[in-house]
Amino acid sequence: MSGDGTATSWIRTVSRHHLFWPVVALVALWIACGIVSPGFLDIKLVDGHLFGQLVDIARNSVTYMLLALGMCLVIATGGIDLSVGAVMAIALSVSLTYIDGAANGESVSTALTAIALGLAAAAVVGAFNGFLVAGLGIQPFIATMIILVAGRGIALAFTGGQITTTHSAPFKSIGSGFVLGIPTPLVIGGVVFTLVALLVRRTALGMLLESIGINRTASQMAGVRSRNITWLVYVLCGLLAGLAGLVYGAPTMAADANNIGQLMELNAIMAVVIGGTKLDGGKFSLAGTIVGALILTTLDRAVIIFHLPSESKDLFKAIVVIAICIAGSERLRGQLGLRRVPQVPGPPTSPNKPVEVAA
């Protein structure tokens, strides 16, 4: 009896974790792909490099992950950053335009300068967003929409309205190269995640972010420098979006300012939300954000693995995302009797209700 009890309570604890349903969905998708297409789950060494569908998924999800990490921090402060897709385009345009104009695109120093310039441009845009939001007190949705609308114009100004295509092996390697057999984007993603996690979880920054998101005025009164912190977060988000743009665009070496990062802001928000962070600010989950990014990438791929017609791709994605959201809905779980019932001393009226509904 007691063994049963601890097992169920363990299952309950796990199933109540905010990452439970997203992880279940991800693993279920992978298993389904593995059944439909044997070999999907294999990871092999080809020419000394890791190779396999899961490696591809991880590599492709780095773009989403970088965007979503920045977005997650912004959302934690109760804000939102709609400009990330446009920032990707700006950063890539700046970098590739520089390489295109440089004397020797193949030199490592040129590539490093290009990366620095692209990231600097992204950080400037992030600082501009932060200035509008924290400095002038404009609503984040509107403030960042300015770059969403105008950002591609800025990127097009750098590329002269054309698709700048250029060559630089060192720059290309940040998107398609390998470090000790591991795809470079994956290494970049891992390093960035570790840095961000250390920054927000090993310092007080994470807690301060949450306090701003939960109640800006109260946190300010408690002595939190909410203005500076909010500003910093937008710069960080811009920087990460710029990095995402470079990683995404580097394999093709083509600065397509019109299309790079198109609708990525929504994908980033989706990854954050799937990962269990609420849009109204406060508590956030960096690990959940990674799961969200992996789910989005897996969905794109699963459509092809399942031999679904391309027309049904968006519908398929929508169904899975809706399913995850419904599974994670607290109200629904409450009605099904899955939700943790507040342990309030007193007449046990509330626990009966869900039972009736379920029955």
Binding site: S37, G39, F40, V46, D47, H49, F51, Q53, D56, N60, R152, L156, G161, Q162, I163, T165, S176, Y248, G249, P251, T252, A254, D256, N258, N259, D300, R301, V303, I304, I305, F306, H307, P309, S310, E311, K313
Partner: protein, 336 residues
């Protein structure tokens, strides 16, 4: 509270007045625009080559190297020396930008409107407005699907379907037993729909294992191919709706340890320089050209339409095909 409410009302009233003012302005400019059109048309009828033909050209954007070459060709041909006063507007691949540009052209009273529609549908209203303003339309490259009767004077462009057919015929002749995977362009675009239809009809639907969209871009072409190599292990021929997706697919094929052009034969449409270079490098096997350099034909059509001469409803740009016998010199001579 009251003062706040009053202020709100004041703002609302101001907005309303502004809106009225704007409406008046736009109707004014409409009138003058029509007058202008009449004026230039009158002088055009009476005079001769001294007058420049005012042309509004709305390009859909710069989504590919092909489009860039097309834009350059248009700009190089529609010059003042050739008797054209060109207003060129780039729509950045947004239909609303393009509709706005077309309305601006009406307001400016241009003599001829030329445009490459970004999508096929949704043009009814603006085409009707153009027709009401009696401005002839030259459609470039892409077609429209509209309820407006006689919406354009002439259409110049490539026949996407025949490109698909040409690719299909080559496959049928050289690889009759091919197991084909198809990388589609942006779903719903004319190039995707027609190339797919032409190709599928020619090779037969049973030869095609599967399809996926790569949105005409390298990055998405690569991602789709990575998945397709897993999903369709029997595949030995790739038909891609443009070169860029094919170039992305090459990376995916090589990463999987296969040889593009050998293990997986690649047939593509477009013929941009990078694509032809892949032919020289034996990574592509066959490329159907989609020739973007037809500014001279557009110029010719605009002049004829302006002069009121009879023009054929359709002018098809001649497309060549290339296989691996192409030389490096030919590729280097490619302007785009």
């Amino acid at each position: 509270m009251v003062s706040k409410k009053m202020r709100m009302r004041g703002v609302a009233a101001a907005v309303a007045v502004l809106a009225l003012g704007l409406a008046a302005c736009s109707s004014d400019s409409d009138d003058t625009a029509n007058d202008d059109t009449n004026a230039t048309q009158d002088s055009g009828d009476g005079g001769d080559s001294g007058e420049l033909i005012k042309v509004g050209f709305s390009q859909l954007g710069a989504e590919s190297g092909w489009r860039t070459a097309n834009t350059e060709s248009v700009k190089a041909s529609l010059t003042e020396e050739n008797g054209i006063d060109l207003t060129f507007v780039d729509a950045q691949q947004k239909q609303e930008n393009q509709i706005k540009a077309l309305r601006d052209f009406i307001d400016q009273g241009v003599d001829v409107i030329a445009f490459s529609p970004v999508v096929q549908t949704g043009w009814d209203e603006v085409l009707q407005e153009i027709q009401d303003a009696e401005i002839p339309v030259v459609l470039v490259d892409r077609t429209v699907d509209t309820t407006v009767t006689d919406p354009y004077a002439t259409w110049i462009g490539a026949d996407f379907k025949s490109e698909g057919v040409k690719a299909g015929e080559w496959v049928k002749e050289n690889y009759p037993d091919a197991k084909i995977f198809e990388l589609q362009g942006t779903l719903g675009s004319g190039a995707q729909v027609d190339r797919e239809a032409g190709f599928d009809e020619t090779v037969g639907a049973d030869k095609i294992l599967g399809k996926a969209s790569g949105n005409f871009t390298r990055a998405e072409g690569k991602a789709a191919m990575e998945a397709a190599l897993q999903a369709y292990p029997d595949m030995n021929l790739l038909f891609t709706h443009n070169d860029d997706m094919g170039l992305g697919a090459i990376e995916a094929i090589e990463a999987a340890g296969k040889v593009p052009g050998k293990d997986i034969v690649i047939v593509s449409v477009d013929g941009v320089r990078d694509g032809l270079q892949a032919l020289v490098d034996k990574k592509f096997n066959f490329v159907v050209e989609c020739n973007p350099v037809f500014g001279d034909q557009i110029l010719d059509a605009i002049k004829k339409v302006y002069a009121g001469e009879d023009v054929p409803k359709e002018t098809i740009v001649v497309d060549a095909t290339f296989d691996q016998t192409i030389t490096q010199e030919e590729v280097d001579a490619r302007p785009y």
